[in-house]
């Protein structure tokens, strides 16, 4: 199993550009998440999904959109990129029956908006 795979690993955007961060998992997990990590701020939840066709906002959803058309894929869309979206983005997944709350993370996507 590859686990959680994110692409691209690095990207530089200009202000106002748009892009999609891809995330796919091969563990048949029901739940998927997008977090962002800023220096000294920990990880903040952007959006999450409890299954295909179901998504909901996290703590910091502004400027982002998501979709979940399949169990495996959970892309994150950035519209009109702003410098405040410079961050490292992590996709994660978990299995609904896993009562200990463990999430499995991808390696991250580092985004810089100039």
């Amino acid at each position: 199993n590859a686990g959680v795979t994110q692409t691209p690993k690095f990207r530089i955007l200009k202000i106002g550009q748009s892009m999609t961060l891809q995330c796919t998992q091969d563990m048949n997990h029901n739940y998927m998440y997008w977090y962002r990590q800023d220096p000294g701020m920990g990880l903040k939840l952007i959006y999450y999904s409890v299954g295909a066709g179901i998504t909901d906002k996290g703590e910091v959803p502004n400027g982002y959109n998501v979709s979940r058309s399949t169990t495996e894929d959970f892309p994150l869309r950035l519209e009109l990129a702003a410098p405040s979206q410079t961050s490292v983005y992590f996709c994660a997944s978990s299995f609904r029956g896993k009562n200990t709350g463990e999430l499995f993370f991808g390696e991250g996507s580092r985004l810089t908006v100039l």
Partner: protein, 115 residues
């Protein structure tokens, strides 16, 4: 409002000694607490967890202690090894979040274990 706080940004210990990483929380409505370890340029990886109905959980060199009255948990690493040098995140799952799995993370503590 930071519900999960790690007030020490960094910690340095000597190899073979004990490392103690601390975490405080403000919300009593958490049912699970977790510790994650993160190396540079990698995603966080799960280390150990504890249910809110317990006060201790042990896994090899790693032990997590939960003090509910103080709303405090700590991760003990004994003995510390240079390979333990990483950023450690404390996380908590809200009661009722079991059907979404959402976690709230602390800011992280960078542990350096010196040979």
């Amino acid at each position: 409002d930071q519900q999960v706080k790690q007030n020490s940004p960094s910690l340095s210990v000597q190899e073979g000694r004990i490392s103690i990483l601390n975490c405080d929380y403000t919300n009593s409505m958490f049912d699970y607490f977790l510790w994650y370890k993160k190396y540079p340029a990698e995603g966080p990886t799960f280390l150990i967890s504890i249910s809110s109905i317990k006060d201790k959980n042990e896994d090899g060199r790693f032990t997590v202690f939960l003090n509910k009255s103080a709303k405090h948990l700590s991760l003990h690493i004994v003995p510390s090894q240079p390979g333990d040098s990483a950023v450690y995140f404390c996380a908590a799952r809200g009661i009722g979040s079991g059907n979404t799995g959402k976690l709230i993370f602390g800011q992280g503590t960078t542990l350096q274990v010196k040979p």
